[in-house]
């Protein structure tokens, strides 16, 4: 049963992945990609990691919706409403993807996979949490700070306005001059 679900999820994921490059609309390509990633979440679920599987679905839906907004906003034709192609640099991409696929497939057969020792735990979620938040706590904390710093830095670089534009030369203008007002009356 599990094997059937696993294989069908894999096939659907691949079909959606192909659709990403066949579709001529950015919205369809984005949501085909979402379909593929949701199948990957399903695969992780079937493999016995329910938390990671469901979180992949959750995160990917949010991510792909936000990505759709940006991809359509930045597309080369106005509003992204005209047919387009997702294929660029076809020869180079073909060679590159063939090489990656070949090496990954070779790795599957060459790696000496370990045999299972013991039995799987009842609650894998707890184990995932322990693995991430136990020995790897420092890594997670550092990663969190790096991600936050990247987000803040990217936002600062993208903004034309700074604090002097908002608060005046003496930083004493209250309320700040903002292009759009917010909900808490600042």
């Amino acid at each position: 049963m599990d094997a059937v679900v696993l294989w069908s999820l894999g096939v659907v994921a691949l079909a959606c992945a192909v659709a990403v490059f066949v579709c001529d609309s950015m919205a369809r390509a984005t949501f085909a990609l979402l379909g593929s990633l949701v199948c990957v979440g399903g695969v992780v679920l079937v493999l016995g990691l329910p938390y990671l599987g469901v979180v992949i679905v959750l995160m990917m839906v949010m991510e792909m919706v936000v990505m759709a907004v940006f991809m359509i906003a930045y597309m080369m034709n106005p509003a992204g409403l005209m047919p387009m192609s997702m294929l660029h640099n076809q020869r180079g991409a073909l060679a590159l993807s063939a090489a990656v696929f070949a090496s990954l497939t070779a790795a599957v057969f060459l790696v000496p996979w370990p045999h299972r020792r013991g039995s799987p735990p009842r609650d894998t979620t707890f184990q995932v949490g322990k693995a991430l938040m136990g020995e790897q706590m420092l890594t997670m904390i550092v990663l969190g700070f790096v991600l936050l710093a990247t987000m803040v830095a990217a936002t600062v670089l993208a903004l034309r306005r700074g604090r002097y534009d908002r608060l005046g030369d003496g930083l004493d203008r209250r309320p700040a001059r903002d292009p759009a007002g917010g909900g808490v009356g600042r």
């Binding site: 919205a27 938390y51 469901v54 959750l58 839906v61 949010m62 919706v65 979620t125 759009a180 909900g183």
Partner: protein, 303 residues
């Protein structure tokens, strides 16, 4: 298996009936069964109505988006315990509910994109903006319940409330959850994506069965969110004298009634205003809530 969707639909119908009565009272009309019946006559009318066809609509994505909203609501209640029984008491039930709720992001954006109409598209974008505002506080609210029970399984969350209900020591999380329910059902103060100022927004072009599904999706989500609040914060089926299922039913209907009543009390909030409130006020509040819950749990364990 079929009981959960049936209960969900019944709850949604009751919510629509209550909303119709509230609307009638609001307008100074007489409340009667006839008023409710006329509102529910929309169902056969939409089922038989000829669907509108639009030039260059992306039918596939449009249909997909419309279907995702009610289907996500039905899937979300599969993990919600009714009394002591659950269709599927997943070990990650809480995350499952959240994931299904996030599907409405994709559903409503697609429902806005599909018809190739500016008003619908703006409605879809409005929901994404609203989603960015309500989602994070809602997640922290769910996390505080999970932290209090030290489990993502809803059965364990209910069991952890056999003494004191979570609503007593997680009031902020409860209120944020209720606001989140109205937001993902895009009703009441969060009806901005389907606003009247936008000729109906995501609802501007849908007709016939599609319109029925999208409208039903809103009320199904309202009911699902109310049903979820019961195991999360109100002790699930715990209660004296009456059997567990009766308590679940009673509490769900009480939350649903509160939501339907509250919906008319608050004006529609623009997403750009709500995002600032959510990120500057609600998020710190919910984070403090999670911190307080975590400290209580640690102290209880004697750590």
């Amino acid at each position: 298996m079929l009981l959960a969707p049936a209960l969900l639909v019944t709850g949604a119908l009751l919510a629509v009936a209550a909303d119709t009565c509230a609307a009638a009272q609001h307008a100074g009309r007489r409340r009667s069964l006839g008023t409710v019946g006329r509102r529910l006559l929309e169902v056969p009318r939409l089922l038989t109505a000829q669907p509108r066809t639009l030039p260059a609509a992306d039918r596939l994505l449009w249909r997909l988006g419309v279907i995702v909203v009610p289907v996500g609501a039905v899937l979300s209640v599969l993990v919600v315990p009714f009394g002591h029984r659950t269709v599927a008491d997943l070990s990650v039930g809480l995350v499952w509910f959240n994931a299904m709720e996030v599907l409405t992001w994709a559903g409503l954006w697609l429902a806005g994109w599909g018809p190739n109409s500016a008003f619908s598209l703006v409605g879809g974008y409005r929901f994404v903006a609203q989603g960015l505002a309500y989602e994070l506080p809602l997640m922290f609210a769910l996390i505080s319940a999970a932290t209090g029970a030290q489990s993502l399984r809803l059965g364990d969350v209910v069991a952890a409330q056999s003494g004191l209900w979570f609503v007593v020591w997680m009031p902020v999380a409860f209120l944020v959850h209720l606001a989140g329910v109205l937001a993902f059902a895009f009703l009441g103060p969060f009806a901005y994506p389907a606003g009247r100022d936008l000729a109906g927004g995501v609802l501007a072009e849908v007709s016939g069965v599609d319109r029925l599904l999208l409208q039903a999706g809103r009320w199904l989500w309202l009911t699902a969110g109310a049903a979820m609040a019961v195991p999360l914060f109100l002790g699930g089926g715990n209660g004296p004298v009456l059997p567990a299922w009766a308590w679940s039913l009673f509490k769900t209907l009480a939350v649903l009634g509160l939501l339907v009543y509250g919906m008319r009390r608050v004006p529609v909030v623009r997403a750009d205003r709500y995002v600032e409130l959510a990120w500057l006020v609600l998020m710190p509040l919910t984070m403090v809530q999670v911190l307080a819950v975590a400290l209580v749990v640690l102290v209880r364990q004697g750590g």
